[in-house]
């Protein structure tokens, strides 16, 4: 579904991502793990079009989307839930969800999907008229994911969904991620919480200083000694 080939992205003179290649198949959860500053978020932002790559191709369903502006990538149902949530703080929960459906014109379908995301995150329904900025961190993460789902993603890219959240909330979020895969959404997950990410992922890639150093199935990586030492705290 998604094939990244020799992708490089830089901020000015800093080469944040260097010549990486990986792929995501339909129906999988694929995770990119690695330390802070390894280039995971940069990779996601390059795919979603917020950053322009310096070199390489990003094939999504056999179309090269490298360098395409973010709004056009979103139109292809490739949806990124950004790091730090980035919900619209001065809009209500409902308006945030409507923004997620910005490109859609099927108001009946939008209504249905709002009901659907409320099923996934009942807490949001209780907060429907509240401004996004007044929600707790966990609720904001739920809203960010719900907003992403409103775009009917075929490929959903989640950037650090567990960051700064209480363990109970993290559990809820990861349960939802698995549910979404079961519903047929392909997921590319960037996480610092490597053990959690690998435990639900079909496959994973380890990033180190802008390069992919290791890859394998979730189980293989969990069992790998280097991964255990570096990221799992064993």
């Amino acid at each position: 579904m998604l094939k990244i080939k020799h992708l490089s992205t830089s901020y000015g003179k800093i080469h944040a991502v260097r010549d990486i290649s990986f792929e995501v198949n339909e129906g999988e959860i694929v995770t990119l793990i690695g330390a802070n500053g390894a280039g995971k978020s940069t990779t996601l932002q390059t795919i979603s079009g917020l950053l322009k790559p310096r070199a390489g191709t990003i094939l999504y369903k056999d179309e090269d989307i490298a360098g395409m502006p973010a709004n056009k990538v979103a139109a292809r149902h490739v949806v990124q839930v950004p790091e730090g949530r980035r919900i619209f703080g001065r809009m209500t929960v409902k308006e945030n969800l409507e923004m997620g459906a910005y490109l859609r014109k099927d108001s009946a379908g939008i209504k249905e999907d709002i009901a659907h995301v409320f099923e996934l995150f009942p807490r949001l329904e209780e907060r429907i008229a509240q401004k996004g900025g007044t929600l707790s961190g966990g609720e904001q993460q739920m809203l960010a994911m719900a907003r992403g789902l409103m775009g009917r993603p075929e490929l959903l890219m989640l950037d650090e969904p567990s960051m700064g959240l209480a363990p109970v909330v993290v559990e809820t979020i990861f349960e939802v991620i698995q549910k979404l895969r079961d519903q047929g959404i392909t997921i590319l997950l960037v996480e610092q919480n490597a053990s959690l990410a690998l435990s639900i992922a079909n496959r994973g890639y380890v990033m180190e200083t802008g390069e992919i150093s290791l890859s394998g199935t979730g189980r293989e990586l969990l069992a790998n000694e280097d991964v255990q030492k570096a990221y799992l705290g064993h």
Partner: protein
Amino acid sequence: MDIFIQQLVNGITLGGMYALIALGYTLVYGILLMINFAHAEMFMVGAYVGLFSLKFFSDPEWGAATLGLEGMQQFFTGSIFGLIIMFAIVFIFSGIVTGLLGMLIERVAYRPLRNAPRLAPLISAIGVSIFLQNAVLLWVDSRAIAFPNVFPVVNFGYGINSLKIFIVVTSIILLIGLDTLVSKTKMGKAMRATSQDRGAAQLMGININKVIAATFFIGPALGAVAGIFHGMYYGAVIFNMGFFPGIKAFTAAVLGGIGNLRGAMLGGFMLGIIESMTAGFISTGYKDVVAFAILIIVLIFRPGGLLGESVVEKV
């Protein structure tokens, strides 16, 4: 009491104009975090376009009549109905021309600098402002031009007249219209989303270039309307007429909380009323002193402006 009512009416009239201009500053600031110093010139250009189109439709020695369209001029100036249509055309035409100019300026002078340090577009805006003033000075006229006196001014006592009512009512309609546009329509929601988080807005599929272009159309279009009001109210236009109203309207935007639409409206009316009251009860010479003193006091106690939200901490 007479003076009070009179000055209140004057203040509201002036306030309506300030509010219309202030919206242009606040819209652009909300989305690009940039003070568009060329906005005062949008007001000026709008007034000129309004003046010439009004002349074209109404001046028998100028424009339409010389093209053999005396009949059209007679229709427009001959009845109230004709006048309404003529003014509607003049305002809409000037708004569109000025709005397109605003979009052009954004495309040429600001967009290339969008990712540059914030000072760069600011300087570019000042450059655009100087350019436009001098372009009008050189190509149109360096002296003031009288505004065609075609609006039927009827006095109702207490300093209330039909022109002031027209200005106030039209301003309020436009303000409500813009408020509705921004809170209810899809484009308005896209504008709000873009102003809150540009990157996240792009991820929603919003084409921010379109949103920014729309902002640069709406602000100058409203500024143009205010420019025509100003020309009608004071009876003349001149190339540097944008300076003071521009500064006042910018002040109004800051007073209300820059980036906040209703704040700009409130700030505009407040500033207009404060100025008129000072002129009426203290002295004309002190009106700017009092207006700006109030601005300073407000900013000391509420740095975000009257309706500005305190800065939300981003985690």
